[in-house]
Symmetry: C2
Subunit: 191 residues, 2 copies
């Protein structure tokens, strides 16, 4: 942030405002304080029989890797609407939401993933503009080594674990980086 978006001043400072505990971008001319907050990524785990739907990414980051359909939640929508919209946009797939299945914090990038378990209603799907391909995979055929994101891999691991006993538990946890590797923890140790 180089200029105040309210008054145009170039004197933006990065300081802790009075009564606050964290540095913010502040305009000393018009006194506007700019807050930045985590973003929600909402998506689906669409299931059809013993297969799950994945999209191969046509965009960066992780171009060419496989993901569950998911993306940034927009203003004025709900988490379920965001998950369904992303599934339509990326896979043109029709789903029925079953449950919020994983809620995963990514504090190092200030994101919170919310993945919904969903029933894929038919086989009438095809790639949207952000996907190269869309396909169904069983646990054995799934491209485990070519998944785009740790949140996607973790959600899929939980799913195939829970599927064996047909009891789908809601899971909440954090993914942190240890020696550059993503590790899933039910709760990260206090920073």
């Amino acid at each position: 942030m180089k200029f105040c978006s309210q008054c145009g001043s170039a004197r933006i400072e990065h300081v802790v405002p009075m009564g606050d505990s964290r540095p913010r971008h502040v305009c000393p001319e018009c006194a506007t304080i700019y807050y930045q907050n985590p973003k929600i990524v909402a998506g689906c785990l669409p299931v059809y029989g013993d297969r799950v739907l994945l999209c191969r990414r046509a965009i960066e980051p992780r171009h060419g890797f496989w993901t569950l359909p998911a993306g940034f939640m927009e203003n004025e929508e709900t988490t379920v609407e965001a998950a369904m919209r992303e599934t339509r946009e990326e896979a043109n797939a029709n789903v029925e939401i079953e449950q919020l299945y994983t809620l995963i914090n990514l504090p190092h990038v200030s994101q919170v993933y919310m993945m919904y378990r969903a029933k894929l209603l038919d086989l009438d799907f095809h790639p949207g503009a952000e996907s190269l391909e869309v396909a169904l995979f069983t646990e054995d055929t799934l491209p485990w080594n070519a998944l785009a994101f740790p949140t996607v891999a973790q959600t899929l691991r939980f799913y195939f674990e829970d599927r064996q006993r047909q009891d789908f538990l809601f899971r909440a946890g954090d993914i942190v980086r240890v020696d550059g590797q993503p590790i899933y923890l039910e709760r990260r140790p206090s920073p």
Copy 2:
């Protein structure tokens, strides 16, 4: 938004960028696109025996009304950390998190509430800068008509319902406004 915070241009437009489906603030001079996304409000429902802890707000909105300790999640923290921080800041209370209890979308203000059921560990609490008082209430003594927010009222209603059978279900839903009144729905009808 009146000026581009990257280049200082005053020519900010509100248009649908190429390949997008929603209007965004866009700078035609340096091509920066500004996205706005929903915010997470994280908080706790601290329980001590048959009583719950509430804070009377010392700030607007809803100055003087009672709330569960909660506030905007910050970058680089997790949802649990945000809930515990807000509980310390507003009530100086020590809690142990038990479960994510309610997840409530407020699409009309682009917020997602996440309230955690928590055990209040001791009676050593007192108001923080944003609270006038902090107190414990049973279901019968609770100021039901002086609660600050519909999300707080709904979370408390669920709690005292679930408490009777000692089975605390995770609930996810939406609060929408119908004739100016807030209504809780498991899922709002498609807009």
